[in-house]
Symmetry: C2
Subunit: 351 residues, 2 copies
């Protein structure tokens, strides 16, 4: 029984649930045999899928519930009316210690609202943030906030840096991840006041953070830093623009390479090589965003996740749980309070 890592799964969340959830768990188990699962959802639908995977079946339990959160339900409504839903019960299992983390491909807003209510924020954290992993020229990079906070002040950004540091150590295995604060390079106005003040706080902190300084939009795909810190408005727009660009270029390449016999032949020959790029940039490989700053682990998988994609979200949950991201965030916040703590502690206390 030792070394087992038990994850609670919302079996009903996402466009391809419950199949993607069950098949995804089977894939994750194949790479991480120490995984164990609690599936929350409609037993009549989950049981037959699970029976098809004997190894997975042997390490899983189903907790039946007939309720689920609709994809377009308002978070406030879901929070009031869905206390018996597969999503809420999965989070409760993580809260009560019956699982180390909960994973769902369901409604993002509802998941965040339920996770906040159940887990509560870590002591000292003002606002949770959504952290995501992004492929770059050289290595995966962590981006936060991806949309939990549309308006952020300098203290929020400072805390995002601290949380992003802890998350990057766990999720991409960097010992001292470099942190970049997203800014603009126009000579006319260099950034807004929140960004400028957050940079001052990061330069002055006594925490062992590897603060690189400001980065610009170019630096995200270039992989200049390991962690890019920004407000939830900019972060959300940036990640979606980047995904849109990847789709635009893939579409253009496909079109161009099917236009003539010569191009088609070239494509046939180059296909394996092009496939390696597609794999590298495959968003499924980077599925699994974490709600950072909560006293528990909730991983958001993309709503359109297939089995391979969901398996990655489960692997992220596993890494995060065993590497203790939240413990690290807490200890950094605590050491902020304990150290001479002039600037940091004062600023945070004034928050």
């Amino acid at each position: 029984m030792n070394g087992e890592v038990l994850i609670a799964l919302d079996a009903m969340g996402g466009d391809h649930a419950p199949r993607s959830v069950v098949d995804g768990a089977a894939l994750a188990l194949a790479s991480h045999p120490e995984l164990r699962f609690l599936f929350f959802g409609d037993e009549a639908r989950v049981r037959p899928l699970l029976s098809a995977h004997s190894t997975l079946n042997a390490v899983s339990e189903i907790r039946h519930t007939s309720d689920e959160v609709p994809a377009d339900e308002k978070p406030s409504v879901a929070l009031r009316q869905r206390r018996e839903s597969s999503m809420f019960l999965a989070i409760q299992a993580a809260k009560e210690g019956n699982a180390v983390a909960a994973v769902s491909s369901g409604n993002t807003g509802a998941l965040m609202a339920m996770a906040k209510l159940s887990f509560r924020t870590l002591p000292g954290i003002m606002r949770p943030a959504i952290a995501s992993i992004f492929p770059t020229l050289s290595h995966p990079c962590v981006l936060l906030d991806m949309g939990a906070n549309a308006e952020c002040d300098a203290k929020n950004l400072f805390q995002f840096a601290l949380m992003g540091d802890a998350f990057a150590r766990a999720a991409i295995g960097k010992e001292s991840p470099s942190l970049g604060l997203l800014n603009i390079g126009s000579e006319e106005v260099k950034g807004n006041s929140a960004v400028k003040e957050a940079a001052d706080m990061l330069r002055a902190t006594t925490l062992p953070l590897n603060f690189h300084g400001f980065v610009e939009g170019y630096d995200i795909p270039a992989g200049t830093v390991d962690v890019v810190i920004t407000d939830g408005f900019t972060g959300n727009v940036v990640i979606k623009t980047a995904e849109g660009m990847a789709r635009l270029l893939a579409h253009d390449v496909k079109q161009a390479l099917s236009r003539s016999f010569r191009a088609k032949l070239g494509y046939l020959l180059a296909r394996p090589a092009i496939g390696t790029i597609r794999d590298k940039l495959d968003p499924r490989r980077y599925n699994g965003a974490m709600f950072l700053g909560l006293n528990g682990i909730a991983i958001k998988s993309h709503g359109s996740a297939d089995a391979e994609s969901f398996a990655n979200a489960v692997r992220v949950a596993h890494h995060i749980a065993v590497t203790g991201v939240n413990e690290r965030i807490c200890s950094e916040l605590q050491s902020l309070g304990e150290t001479a703590g002039e600037s940091d502690a004062t600023s945070l206390a004034n928050a």
Copy 2:
């Protein structure tokens, strides 16, 4: 002499000046024979370059000055100390009616500061914005603000919509361009207060604007709308992230296609097809950002512009001048003031 379009050029601005400026003007003249040029800069360096182009030489004059604005000079310093610079004199020529527009590849901040001082803002406009053209899946799209205003309120965004509408009619030739307000799609928090309020103003306006509603990051490369409106912080980050993504993918494709003999052969065959994509997305084709909201036309060309790229910036200046963007903005602002004008006029008056 009729139909001539006279443009003032900062011959010394940019990494490849003055050659890129002179050669670029020659390319623009080849496609637009009605162009005439005033070159501001070091005559000893510009004259020999100009002599190599007899047609261009015949329609150009050089106004000698030995001063220029360094690329990294602070805008406030340039504004005080560079009144004899090639950049300032080019703008002055446009201000005094000796040219219809000024084009420079020099220091963006200095150019904006000089253009603001010389041209002044259009009546009713609170803040100028930088508008840029962006390639998408289907058609070029206008983005603003690209970095002139790091912090924007709802009224600023509303005015950007109005200016973007006028610019899109001129620059990309759309009769009733669709306008999208950039927002985030997280169910948790849908946008910040400025964006929400600006959307209300755009829905309520009596102006003949084709307001599509909110768009997300995905929609920019997809070409969902003709004009994307956002604050200068987000806009600057977005355009740089998109450029970075294009570079990342181009680099990856190149690497992958040189890895094996088979891939190399495929690349050789597919090269013409891949070339058409490269052409379509070539940032040089979209060079030439406009400072909108000023009582004059200043076009910012990329600092690293080559001749082809600079030629496009000159063509943008030409289009903008002959289509009367500023006149349109003024008349829209005026009709805002004249119409029953409850919400719009009141909001703008309260600004």
